[in-house]
Symmetry: C2
Subunit: 213 residues, 2 copies
């Protein structure tokens, strides 16, 4: 699936009839996420998505009622990509906190594409309580996951135990969001080494007692 999604060809191979409904919907949402990132949310209709997946509009409307629902599923598709990267972090990873941040920073074209899908969703979520709630849920969930990693690293002695995991996870995630919200529009301005420089400085403060002014 990743090869289909991340190549310029978005045509999906035909699937047997007994294919699972949710799996097929996820496949189409993956294509939608990539299209939204490249063409912009205003230029991805159910019709153009149908064309991109090599199916009919009615096949697409079987999975998505309208463009708003399509955008929700594209958003979730990009979250699945991030989750897959997080799931791939090895249990014996020497620096798990850095690895979690790497999983979501726009360090390469795949991750930048996910951010473009998310940023498109954010735009649509302004003034839309249900979409905004999805975004709040996502921020909270990721922040809690980072806080758990920080607490585990504190228990292991790798991070300063006087720090509050909730505060530090909030700080780290806002840094990720800040970098990503700029990098989504300016790849050249945010090469991976620049992102790592800011990330490693923030992580460095966690490893040594923080000097508050």
């Amino acid at each position: 699936m990743r090869h289909v999604l991340y190549n310029t060809c978005y045509i999906l191979s035909p699937m047997p009839r007994h294919v699972d409904h949710d799996a097929r919907r996820e496949e189409i949402a993956d294509v939608a996420a990539a299209l939204i990132a490249s063409r912009g949310p205003a230029n991805v209709s159910l019709r153009s998505l149908a064309a991109a997946t090599g199916g009919s509009t009615s096949a697409v409307t079987h999975y998505f009622a309208d463009r708003r629902e399509l955008l929700q599923h594209a958003y979730r598709a990009a979250i699945r990509h991030a989750r897959a990267r997080i799931d791939a972090i090895a249990d014996d990873q020497p620096d798990p906190l850095r690895a979690y941040c790497e999983a979501v920073l726009p360090l390469d074209s795949d991750r930048r594409r996910d951010w473009q899908t998310w940023v498109a969703f954010h735009g649509a979520a302004v003034g839309d309580p249900a979409l905004a709630e999805m975004q709040r849920w996502r921020v909270t969930a990721f922040r809690e996951m980072l806080a758990e990693v920080i607490a585990a690293e504190q228990a292991a002695g790798a991070i300063d135990r006087s720090l509050d995991p909730a505060t530090e996870s909030r700080h780290l995630l806002s840094l990720v969001h800040g970098i990503a919200s700029e990098a989504a529009f300016d790849e050249d301005d945010w090469p991976a080494e620049r992102q790592y420089a800011l990330l490693d400085r923030a992580l460095g403060h966690l490893r040594t007692p923080v000097q508050l002014s």
Copy 2:
């Protein structure tokens, strides 16, 4: 104008015929920015904007060719609000760097509204080279302004002279963007004191030699 804009009533008072074209367009763009923030970009059409300004659709289309152009002008309206806050910073402000960051952080409902307009624009800028260019220009311009303030503060001895203003302005602006991109959807999760806590920690690092890991 601020009172009209920031109240629930968006009806503008009639203006004399000789009113300057650009000024009138800016007035309508201000209304559009507030509407986009509250109703969402998908729910603000030229027609609904005309209704909100108490004019006809043709009066609105005199200023904006389509919704995309309207969104561009709403984006610029929110930038004008930020610029007005920056222009209001006193020359003898004891902590100008903090004041510049305060001018753009979503610390109150006015500034949060500006961020909602910007986030809506960001969503539309995905896959739209011209809008993305506007966003890159804005990031670069604000970052350069912050770098100038940092350099002046270094000259005045208030900020560690070993630091690179370009790097520090990049870090500060990404922090602002990160906080704002979350706070746009979750006011309760980002009270002003929480934003100040992260800002002051970042500024604190500028005032003392930074410990790199």
